[in-house]
Homo-oligomer: 282 residues x 2
Amino acid sequence: MIGGIEAGGTKCVLAVGPEPGRIDAMHIVPTRSPDETIADILAWFASQPAVAAVGLATFGPVGLDRSRPDWGHILQTPKPGWSGFDFAGALEDKLGVPVAVETDVNAAALAEANADGSVSSLAYMTVGTGIGVGLLIDGRCVHGAAHPEMGHYRPRRPAGDNGFAGICPFHGDCLEGLASGPAIIARWGSRLSDLPPYHSAHGLIADYLAQTCHTLFAATSVEVIVVGGGVLATPALHDRIVARCMELDAGYFPGGNRHRIIAPRLDAGSGITGAMLLASGC
Amino acid sequence: MIGGIEAGGTKCVLAVGPEPGRIDAMHIVPTRSPDETIADILAWFASQPAVAAVGLATFGPVGLDRSRPDWGHILQTPKPGWSGFDFAGALEDKLGVPVAVETDVNAAALAEANADGSVSSLAYMTVGTGIGVGLLIDGRCVHGAAHPEMGHYRPRRPAGDNGFAGICPFHGDCLEGLASGPAIIARWGSRLSDLPPYHSAHGLIADYLAQTCHTLFAATSVEVIVVGGGVLATPALHDRIVARCMELDAGYFPGGNRHRIIAPRLDAGSGITGAMLLASGC
């Protein structure tokens, strides 16, 4: 048996099962302080059959380099109590099994690529409370110096789009500062899905997200970009992004129609499935 | 002995040597029609000791997937006669040895990473007649659906920078349309290095290129970005790019100072050294 943990900003999804695609039991605990959260996680795993390994797909920033002392630690974060917490170490120590760590979005990218056996390069973008992008190249999650942070790149502001400073505390009008759920509410006082179809917000958010897809194709040449998250529940948004991204490319990319923008195949299950995949690789 | 070919828009650099870092003989032929160019390449290799393999680092777009029928072919290009030409196939056929193919910038990325043994993720950007970016992740050149084309992403236009439409025939004001050598001449009637130090062009070009570095760090988390090419001969441009990129990050990236922007270690030799490295991997 293997275990998976998808640690998010407000809740942690826990799972056990005999293999990544088969989850026998699942449980959710709130994400509170590190000590309280670890205690809740341990209590649930203690009630389940013993696991041989655990995959941790966590909110970031997180240290992913096994050879560095900050491996498995949550790095500098505004989340109270979590900066510097040795998340993976605490789990390995208390559960007594190996723990594999990835960012939640890298793990989701792994799971989505796994769900489509023919794809070895994929970006997974979730647009909700924040904007996170995970990246898989040649079948492996990308780390580099740390891990991708595409939510904080700066898309072009379309002509006339200059009346909103953005809400990112670091960058103002980076992608997350412009197109995340809270940014949309800060700007228009409403969720995107509640604004009428003729509202200009729809075209603007689609433009930012399409630019992001275009930029990801340009930078990494990934075959597939999966776009999900709460904001994508807005009717027609997915199709607007696809159409606008094609306009931006103007038929140029040599990958042509081998570049695809799709919805998550695993719905909200990408993260926990990715965590189980990580565990199976231990 | 192994051979290398760096095929550029105006010339092809040819080399032979016993190993990638050691070149015994080098030669340059003009890039003319495919048939003329192949004839020139063959004539020179015939005058050299026999090689066991050849690495081809070529201008793009080029097919890089060995399993596809367009492997080693130059894809759709405005370059007369070259669209669809089976560049690698012609060389394998006539030279009778295996040929390994990469884009010129991917090969240069490989060579620059090899020159710094501790780096496994690196982007190589050259800013000259065009803007090309090669990408290496986990020690391997990135292909994905085809190969990266970061020269055609669309950086943000800074406030007030709206009087120039850009010169890219596909995208107008994409990166290459704004910041390549010909774009600078089209906009200001002069090379950047010939404009006085107080000219606003310096800050603007540095901003576009710094945005590109910031976006590459955000998308791929590479440890190193190498920035070279003719435009980078402009005094102080490198330092301006580094300073502006730090401003754009605002201390956010979890990779921190493990992200570096550097000049090429191999000067103009990255491409041909990369071609020799490709040959050695055959």
